[in-house]
């Protein structure tokens, strides 16, 4: 092991809730902002959300229409591949089950895509059954652009790079194709409990 810096602790890391903390993670109290590019500025008047791809009839909502969908409030732990975990985060949004209600598809995979060009891939199964939301409120406030507002995907059981910020839509696809980070070293699936951070994990 390398040299130890006398007296260095780093950000406060709480190990007490260890059964909720996946391997290799530490708990933070703030909400780090990570970004691969400039923050997209999307006015809600222009915002739309679509479901397209392997679907007979693509679906599309404007902001007003989206806000009329049944809403859920959920409290979840989130885990970033850069090793921070944040417990008990409070979100409000629309379940992906609601979004996909009535959709018939042969597709087994989804590419989520965002304003600004970000993409991330997931199995359809990981977006359904009460496991995922399109969230527009965090901690009781409208989701701030630096955290993905107007709306982001929320898939807490996978590493948080799968919870695409500034989400614009879901493309239903037959084959799993790697998204932005998955094509450059990050794991196609990303289960924090099996520590699937990189290719081959």
């Amino acid at each position: 092991m390398s040299f130890i810096s006398r007296g260095f602790r780093g950000k406060r890391r709480d190990a007490t809730s260890s059964s909720r903390v996946p391997p290799g993670q530490y708990v933070v109290n703030d909400f780090p902002v990570l970004s691969a590019g400039p923050t997209p500025r999307v006015a809600v008047s222009e915002w739309t959300f679509v479901v397209e791809g392997e679907i007979d009839q693509p679906k599309k909502w404007t902001w007003d229409e989206f806000r009329k969908l049944p809403v859920e409030e959920v409290t979840k732990d989130i885990h970033c591949v850069t090793k921070w975990t944040k417990l008990d985060t409070l979100w409000k949004g629309v379940s992906v089950d609601t979004i996909l209600d009535g959709v018939e598809t042969a597709a087994e995979y989804v590419m989520a895509f965002s304003y600004g060009g970000y993409t991330t891939n997931l199995p359809l199964e990981d977006l359904t059954g009460g496991k995922a939301w399109v969230a527009y409120e965090f901690d009781g406030q409208p989701l701030h652009p630096e955290h993905g507002g107007p709306a982001r995907l929320l898939v807490p059981h996978l590493y948080f790079w799968k919870s695409a910020k500034w989400v614009q839509g879901l493309r239903l696809v037959k084959e799993d194709q790697p998204g932005f980070w998955e094509s450059n070293g990050y794991n196609m699936y990303g289960d924090p409990w099996r520590e699937q951070r990189y290719w081959g994990d």
Partner: protein, 90 residues
């Protein structure tokens, strides 16, 4: 602390050390031709977003991703496909 969007944007100087690990050369003076807009910039001038699962390097003229660098699990993954050509002297 409210993080301004601009706060997260640095430049190629910030990844000087990381690029030295990979290239064994000082790279901030290397000149990259963007595969998107074909403009040329010194790596010291390109936009770098480091607060991410990896470093993302973007063309200051057109915003296209020029490089992605991920380091982890004992490996590097390097995508240079956004650079048409990288020029540096011997």
């Amino acid at each position: 602390m409210t993080v301004q969007q601009s706060d997260l944007k640095l430049d190629g100087n910030a990844i000087g050390g990381l690029l030295r690990e990979i290239f064994t050369m000082e790279m901030t003076t290397a000149e990259s031709t963007c595969a998107g807009c074909h403009k040329v910039h010194a790596i010291g001038q390109v936009e770098v977003y480091m607060n991410a699962p990896g470093a993302v390097v973007r063309c200051p003229a057109c915003g296209n991703v020029q490089m992605r660098i991920v380091k982890g699990g004992g490996r590097y993954w390097l995508d240079l496909s956004g650079i048409r050509c990288l020029e540096f002297s011997t």
